[in-house]
């Protein structure tokens, strides 16, 4: 059936190539070029979730769209799993689809990838490669990419920014080829290629459109005249045939890709080959490397050839299908092959590239000596000197094979002996570990109201609290004026007794734990962005189980607190609501700064409507974020949390009273969630020393009501209406650079919609405050 459908269609490959066209010189980075290519392709849709270092592509495309430079529907997901799902769903609809990601984003989306290929819907996924957790690292290696090897996607490699542009155009043509119908992943090195600007050549959009043609899917999910069942339940006699079809497509890809490369060369003058050779004429040794490292190795090859050493570089432009035959050809006659991997396949004796190159060479009658090295993990630079060293080892292995290990790491360091005992602090002394007594100063006294059953709190005077040491040390690297650290200070100051914290990925996590230093004086954990609540609830359960078994004294239960930004509560909402329902004795403290500020201000679901972020820019076609901020506290209240509160760091007494209640409920009854409005002067575009005013206005205009839901009973703790302090939203919006555009007449309807939503929520809140059963 599939073959019949294909036979009906004209193959795009037969379209005659236009002559070499003129191109424009630009100075752009890999990410900028991925975005430029996408805008010229004018994909129908992009589902995305920002992650460093690929985020810039989304930012660029958002900016271009705001200025009317393309029509791609940009759909911000709440995590990569959903982003991939959005892309999959869209791709069944017959249009062109784009996604970009990196590292954990690729891994979180991973299970969607084989579905995309197994059901045969082409799309393009750019991966700016980055190391995978843990520990968390944001820089380049190929540990993310290697997880995609078995997903049934074509994998194109872009060694430099020019290739990022070219491969994105090629990816559309290749994936949609009727013999293939496969999704295509374009991989380029995070930062090295994604962020480095180079002199490049780009086409006019008309040339791009002519080259890629129009999509011609054999069927779509959006054709009511031709109903189709996509993704059936398929058991044993059939699945193997579905996979064999996939295998056949990859066989075909090995033929189709070189043809399209040739056609592209005729158009651009840039000739890609599945296996690229450099200085391989009569080479005795070859370095086999991928992407930017291969480029660096070419410099070494030049240098060494000059010195009379016959060494060349072999790299790949296509990783799937693996070009084994061309690789054998390229390495024929070479005596030593040094294969470098930017990720290990632990326990396999080499990285994936290395294993595959070695496997490919098995078919050769005379096989070269093969060496495997892991290099450049987590962004460690691969220098010309490193390439020279790899060459040296390759030649040395020919003379003394036993002395040179077949598999090893390049660049791992044993550590200086002086640090063995762990006490060398370069002459600087760390503060002594914090004792529980030092921080437990009982700054809040709790009483239970016998009538209402509510807790009431009396606080110490502020001067009395000031000398109490913090569970976080100064020296953390947050921006000047950061509200997350004011929130953390005010909240934790009130907590008594032992505390164990988990910080979700985000600003507060990054700036307090840059290895090898930590700002935390109590035990701290970090896990995946979307999984913090599950992780901490697991630790809570372990604590109680070990107490039950008598393994821990259980005299004074620690208070378990997860600290998260509003970003962590997007991607991590599922795990957090799951925890709320199970009701473990823990607290989630969310510092809400209205966006993904750690990565340069992308929109979160807590960003209010109309606010400008790098993924909701303003422009002739955009007024800022297009949908309302999520009412997260109400979700947790509905999930039955023991105590839910909102607070703002500009209202410290209110916040600290709620901190005391949070601890009581987390120790006595169960799950607590609190959302605290916390300033981000940098991305709010407000002076550091104006945030008190901004926070006051945010609360007084009703955007951020201060209240608590105690055992299901809502109480408003600060009522701007009753105090005569209610003011229009404009007074708040005028205080921040990110919202100044909302004061113009053209955006008045946005502000009106925002105010209507804020008022609706306020009226509901007041009703709940007044009515005992709501």
């Amino acid at each position: 059936m599939v073959r019949q459908l294909h036979a009906k269609r004209r193959t795009l490959a037969t379209v005659s190539a236009p002559p070499l066209v003129s191109q424009k010189v630009e100075f752009l980075s890999g990410n900028e070029l991925a975005a430029l290519a996408a805008s010229q392709i004018n994909f129908h849709l992009m589902g995305y979730y920002p992650i460093t270092p690929s985020t810039e592509v989304v930012e660029q495309l958002s900016r271009m769209k705001a200025q009317g430079q393309h029509q791609i529907a940009m759909v911000p997901a709440e995590g990569e799993h959903s982003a991939a799902g959005i892309c999959y769903g869209a791709s069944t609809g017959g249009g062109r689809v784009l996604n970009v990601t990196s590292s954990q984003g690729l891994l979180y989306a991973l299970e969607q990838l084989p579905v995309q290929s197994g059901t045969r819907f082409p799309m393009v996924l750019n991966v700016a490669t980055r190391a995978i957790n843990g520990p968390l690292n944001i820089r380049c290696d190929h540990s993310d990419l290697y997880f995609a090897l078995n997903t049934g996607w074509i994998i194109l490699l872009a060694k430099d920014p020019q290739a990022v542009y070219d491969m994105n155009l090629l990816a559309v043509r290749i994936g949609e080829h009727p013999r293939l119908r496969l999704p295509v992943l374009v991989a380029y090195d995070g930062f090295f290629t994604s962020h480095q600007k180079r002199r490049v050549h780009v086409f006019d959009s008309a040339v791009v459109r002519a080259f890629i043609g129009k999509p011609a899917p054999p069927f779509t999910a959006l054709d009511p005249d031709r109903p189709v069942t996509i993704g059936p339940y398929m058991n044993d006699p059939d699945l193997i045939n579905n996979k064999y079809q996939l295998k056949l497509a990859f066989d075909a890809a090995a033929e189709v890709i070189p043809d399209i490369f040739k056609e592209f060369a005729a158009l651009s003058g840039r000739r890609y080959r599945s296996v690229e050779r450099y200085a391989m004429e009569r080479a005795d040794a070859a370095l086999v490397l991928l992407n930017s490292a291969a480029e660096t190795a070419k410099e070494a090859a030049d240098l060494l050839r000059h010195q009379g050493l016959r060494v060349g570089v072999v790299s790949l432009s296509v990783l799937r299908p693996f070009p084994a035959a061309q690789l054998r050809e390229a390495l024929r006659g070479v005596k030593a092959v040094m294969i470098g991997d930017r990720a290990d396949s632990y326990g396999a004796g080499g990285g994936n590239l290395s294993l595959e190159v070695r496997a490919a060479l098995q078919e050769e009658r005379t096989r070269p000596r093969c060496l495997s090295r892991i290099y450049g993990l987590g962004g460690k630079d691969f220098t010309v000197e490193d390439a020279v060293e790899l060459t040296r080892q390759a030649f040395a292995s020919l003379k003394a094979p036993r002395r040179i290990p077949s598999f090893d790491y390049l660049g791992a360091t044993p550590g200086a002996p002086a640090t063995v005992d762990g006490h060398d602090r370069d002459g600087k002394v760390a503060p002594l570990p914090l004792t529980v007594e030092e921080v437990s100063r009982h700054h809040a006294q709790l009483m239970q109201d016998p009538v209402t059953n509510r807790l009431t709190v009396t606080l110490d005077p502020l001067w009395k609290m000031a000398p109490t040491p913090h569970r976080v040390t100064p020296g953390h690297g947050a921006c000047p004026g950061c509200g997350a650290f004011t929130t953390i200070k005010q909240f934790f100051r009130i907590l008594d007794g032992p505390v164990i914290v988990l910080y979700q990925t985000g600003c507060a996590m990054v700036v307090t734990t840059g290895y090898p230093a930590t700002a935390h004086r109590v035990t701290y954990l970090h896990n995946l962005f979307q999984n913090g609540a599950a992780t901490l609830s697991g630790l809570v359960e372990m604590y109680h189980e070990r107490v039950r078994r008598g393994e821990l004294p259980g005299v004074e239960d620690p208070t378990f607190v997860m600290v998260s930004g509003d970003g962590g509560m997007d991607i991590g909402l599922g795990a957090a609501l799951g925890a709320a329902v199970r009701n473990p004795r823990m607290i989630i403290l969310e510092y809400d700064n209205e966006g993904y500020m750690n990565t340069g201000s992308q929109l979160s679901y807590s960003t209010p409507m109309g606010h400008q972020t790098s993924t909701s820019p303003t422009g002739s076609n955009s007024f800022g974020k297009s949908f309302h901020h999520r009412d997260t506290p109400q979700l947790f209240a509905a999930a039955g949390a023991a105590y839910v509160f909102t607070a703002a760091e500009g209202f410290p007494e209110d916040l600290m009273k709620k901190a005391a209640k949070a601890q009581w409920y987390a120790k006595q009854e169960g799950f607590v969630y609190g959302k605290v409005l916390s300033a981000c002067p940098l991305n709010w575009m407000a002076p550091d020393d104006s945030v008190a005013t901004v926070l006051q206005a945010a609360v007084d205009c009703g955007f951020f009501p201060l209240y608590e839901v105690e055992r299901g009973k809502t109480v408003i703790t600060y009522d701007p209406e009753a105090l005569g302090r209610k003011r229009p939203a404009q007074e708040w919006l005028g205080l921040m650079g990110k919202t100044k555009h909302l004061l113009t007449p053209e955006t008045s309807s946005v502000v009106a919609a925002f105010e209507a939503e804020v008022d609706r929520r306020w009226r509901r809140l007041k009703a709940k405050h007044e009515h005992p059963e709501l």
Binding site: V25, T296, D381, F382, G415, A430, W463, P474, G477
Partner: protein
Amino acid sequence: MATSVPFEIRFESIGGLGAHLAAQLLAETLVLRQGFNASQFSSYGSEKKGTPIRSFIRVTDAHKPIRVSSPVIEPDILAVFHEALLARRSTLAGLKPKGVLVINRPRASTRPLPRAHVFLVDAMAIAVEERTRINTAILGAVAKACALIDAKALAAILEERFRGKSSKLAEANLKTYWRGYEEAVERTVTDGLEIPPPDGATAAPRWGYLTAPLGGAILEPGSMVANDLSASRQGFAPRLNLARCTHCGICDLVCPDYCLVWEAQEVSTCVGPDQVVWDRQAARLVGIDYQFCKGCLRCVESCPSGALTKELEGSWVQDARVPLW
């Protein structure tokens, strides 16, 4: 001094001063206006203001490929955006013997200069007067320091860049740029700090595979206290006038850097109107640890008694520092 390609440039700065943008505009000029090939990139971290940042440019002939993507470790031109960065060894490391050093330096500064061919510019003074940022003033000085940079072409790129925002901004920035160019003072320093040799691109870290605790765990709580964040301040610092302080504790609630120093006085004696003597605890704000203060001035904003004020950064900061530890 770089008089022929290839040559390499490094900017040493602090997040928020605009070094990345400056390098980008310079590289754009070299590629799009002067016909060179170049690569440009910055050190990579999360997007924090106030943390050290480096930006790099490699320049070569139009048709020569640039294949190296690691940082510039031996620059021909090195621009330092903040004088405080001179205290870090790595700032000057690797400057070529014939290289040029551009330093943003207050005219009144007495800080010793490194032994090198230097161009000094008081970019902060220019930026304050023109109501712009220091990066364009420094670009002017860099253009003067390097014969291969077409200063007029760079000015044109700057104008284009800022014209899009407002013509007033473009005018102010152009003025800043040309003032940086004109006012940069060339000097050859023969007795001063030695330029350190290049740091390897891949210097070995403190912990290694034989010594690091398994799994990346950090077993020394609170070790970040060794960090010095004073370079994060951008010209201003809070100053405490103890005579006006009521020790109310409001500033402490809003300080994100935990750098206010309090002293708890366990017992003091007060006499009430009925002559009863009772013990009471007291706590006093005794100063600020400027090692950690990033100069956000939120404490100044919050201070109800006027004891904390915004002051221009100066040598008084060192004298007024009260260490937390």
